[in-house]
Symmetry: C2
Subunit: 197 residues, 2 copies
């Protein structure tokens, strides 16, 4: 037996929690989606809440690995055009990767109920993004690509409209292509405003 069921349960939980929320998810459906009977789940997690906590642990660890350490940060673009390329590359991943989408949805749905979800939501949706782009813009200012200004303010002004459109994709996936187009247009407009010609 044994086929990494513990991880499969977490994956199924992420899927169901992101669609129906924690309260709207029941163990019967969750286990059925794995070809298990519900009592089987309790061989791996002692309760529904334990699954939830394990999922949060996993999300926290994942975020730390990918965005916590400086070596995983994207390189500073060396042209204005490269900033848009980098942006679109990041957006395309984040908007099409099912697991990332589901992570955002779960954090959105549970942010008012669970302290850890709340903190992760703020990181994912606000502080994390601005921190990454603060470095990028500071670097681009040093290279003379972008007008000298407060890099944190520019990062905030750049990432939040993009973030809003990413949330739109989560909410109305059929608008994804449109949203990506808008993001690119916004990126170019931003460059036209702050870039050094």
């Amino acid at each position: 037996m044994a086929n990494g069921t513990k991880e499969r349960i977490l994956a199924a939980a992420l899927e169901m929690f992101s669609q129906n929320g924690y309260a709207g998810t029941n163990i019967r459906e969750l286990s059925a989606s794995l070809g298990l009977v519900k009592s089987g789940v309790y061989k791996h997690y002692e309760s529904k809440e334990a699954i939830w906590n394990a999922l949060l642990d996993q999300m926290t660890a994942y975020y730390g690995e990918h965005f916590g350490s400086p070596e995983h940060l994207p390189p500073v673009p060396d042209s204005l055009e490269a900033l848009t390329r980098l942006t679109m590359q990041m957006v395309n991943i984040t908007v099409h990767d099912e697991k990332i989408i589901m992570t955002r949805k779960v954090l959105t749905l549970e942010q008012y109920r669970d302290v850890r979800a709340r903190e992760l939501a703020t990181k994912h949706f606000l502080t994390g993004l601005t921190e990454i782009f603060t470095r990028i813009f500071a670097g681009m200012m040093d290279k003379g690509l972008i007008r000298r200004d407060d890099p944190a303010m520019l990062a905030f002004a750049y990432t939040m409209p993009i973030s809003a459109l990413i949330h739109l994709c989560d909410r109305e996936p059929e608008k994804t292509e449109d949203a990506i187009g808008q993001i690119e247009a916004f990126s170019r407009h931003f460059i036209a405003t702050y870039g050094v010609k």
Copy 2:
């Protein structure tokens, strides 16, 4: 008897749905918060879903009344400073009014499950805001207060960072003051960038 119970039920539903979500709310608690026993609620609404639909009706109507008609739109500011004043006034209302906060939370929690919530969420969080400020910026360009540019793009670039901080206030109310300060700083930075001196 009769004391507007139907409306009080909706108010209580808004409160509970915004805290625990639709699935996480039960009729027993809801009626108890009104000093009723749960069967009493069924004298006014035939089911939990009927309450939910009535709440959405109310939210839709409210939005239409306040933001749907042109006469309720804010006047075009006649100075750059007045744009910040108008912005801060709107932000202060939206961030401190309990009913508006709860409305945003409900839409956030139910946007993936309910079509009407999804549409309202996009209006509240994205299109509504940008439409209002598109008119404002177009007007300010006509008055020569703001550099000629695509007013819709400026509206998007202006409102989305503010919207992100409003969501932060909903998520972590203890950061409200900080967020308001950041919004004001952002507004002034925006003016410094796009305003005509």
